[in-house]
Amino acid sequence: MTAGTAPCTVGLAELLDYLFDAIPSERAEALEDHFFGCAACADRIASLERLRAAVAGAARRAEVAANVNAAFLERVARDGLTLREYRIRASESVPCTAGPEDLVVVRLAADYGEVEEFEVDAELHDLERETVTPLPARDVVVDRALDEVILVFPGELVRSYPRSRWILRLRGAGVGGRFEIGPFVMDHTP
């Protein structure tokens, strides 16, 4: 970008801290002093801005399936997305469907206590072809304020599935050893 600049001493992790965290003002100002004289940092900031815009755009268009928290749902609601929410407790089943532009929100509610590591064993039972497809998800997070595992799916993706039954079981490990919660069942009609 520019000629004759000093070698860059700021790593990606520190740059992310500056851009997205409340770091002490003295540290922030020292980093700014560096950024405004460092061509390498300028390139990296521009690249991260591009990445941020791309990821935010994908989320805003309901194109991403993910495990999120309540802050994410608040943001998509502010952005005007149509949320189709299903809150399910263990051993319950709910009917579900989706519009093409919906964001389908599945909220698995339980008493998660001190459990630290989760995985979701999901099975998609195709009721037309009579097949079962496993859809496992590892290292899942829990919204601790709500005591919910929140999963979001693009409506377009959900609509592409046939008439089916989704069976989800949460497995985890914590102080009391390993455990299983579920099943959470969704009866899907396209």
Binding site: M1, T2, A3, C8, G11, L12, A13, L16, D17, Y18, L19, F20, D21, A22, A28, E32, D33, F35, F36, G37, A39, A40, C41, A42, D43, R44, I45, A46, S47, L48, E49, R50, L51, A53, A54, V55, G57, A58, A59, R61, E63, V64, A66, N67, N69, A70, A71, F72, E74, R75, E116, A137, R138, D139, V140, V141, V142, D143, R144, A145
Partner: protein
């Protein structure tokens, strides 16, 4: 502020910032448009990032970046930048002053000449988009926790502390997950530049 047109620069990228500043200052009443456009291009995204961090929103960051660039160009043209060879420090000083005024609610924008608005607008506009299918594909390749933290950072605009409190993790753990997730995403999308 609207984006009237894209302003492109024909100035060699190897030219140092200081040389750009000196050329702009030397041009006097006949603005060195190419050099001005190149200087704006180099500092635009840094200023938007600075402004967003200081003022809390992308729009406020862009407004601040535009105003800082216009002030800088005007001062250079008028020969009112004492050390053009330290133009980066000058631009940062202008941005800090403007951010301080905005935070003090003295947020009135100075009127900006239409030609100058065109000059700076493209340098602070949304970055060039990345193909949607590539973004989706690379997000799908992340581990669940990495994808969650990247989305909460880039889209829900949550700090590592907010995410940690919400998910029952430590801030340090969230920072590590964020770093790894972003690095993996950059790698997948081919955005990994000179420095990682």
């Amino acid at each position: 502020m609207s984006i009237a047109r894209r302003v492109s620069s024909t100035v060699a990228p190897a030219l140092a910032d200081a040389d750009l500043a000196l050329r702009i200052a030397a041009a006097g009443d006949h603005p060195a448009r190419d050099e001005e456009a190149e200087l704006c291009r180099r500092y635009g995204r840094r200023l938007v990032a600075f402004g967003r961090r200081r003022l809390g929103s992308e729009d406020a960051g862009r407004d601040l970046a535009q105003e800082a660039l216009v002030v800088t160009i005007e001062r250079l043209r008028a020969g009112r930048v004492r050390e053009p060879e330290r133009i980066g420090a000058f631009i940062l000083g202008v941005a800090r002053t403007l951010a301080g005024r905005r935070r003090a609610r003295d947020a009135r924008l100075a009127p900006i000449d239409a030609a100058d608005r065109d000059l700076v607008a493209s340098s602070v506009a949304s970055p060039d988009p990345i193909a949607r299918t590539r973004v989706r594909g690379c997000l799908e390749e992340l581990a669940e926790k990495q994808r969650a933290v990247v989305l909460l950072t880039f889209y829900a605009e949550q700090s590592s502390g907010d995410i940690a409190a919400s998910l029952g993790l430590s801030s340090e753990n969230v920072r590590v997950i964020r770093h790894r997730g972003v690095a993996r995403l950059r790698d997948c999308l081919g955005l990994k530049g000179a420095a990682a």
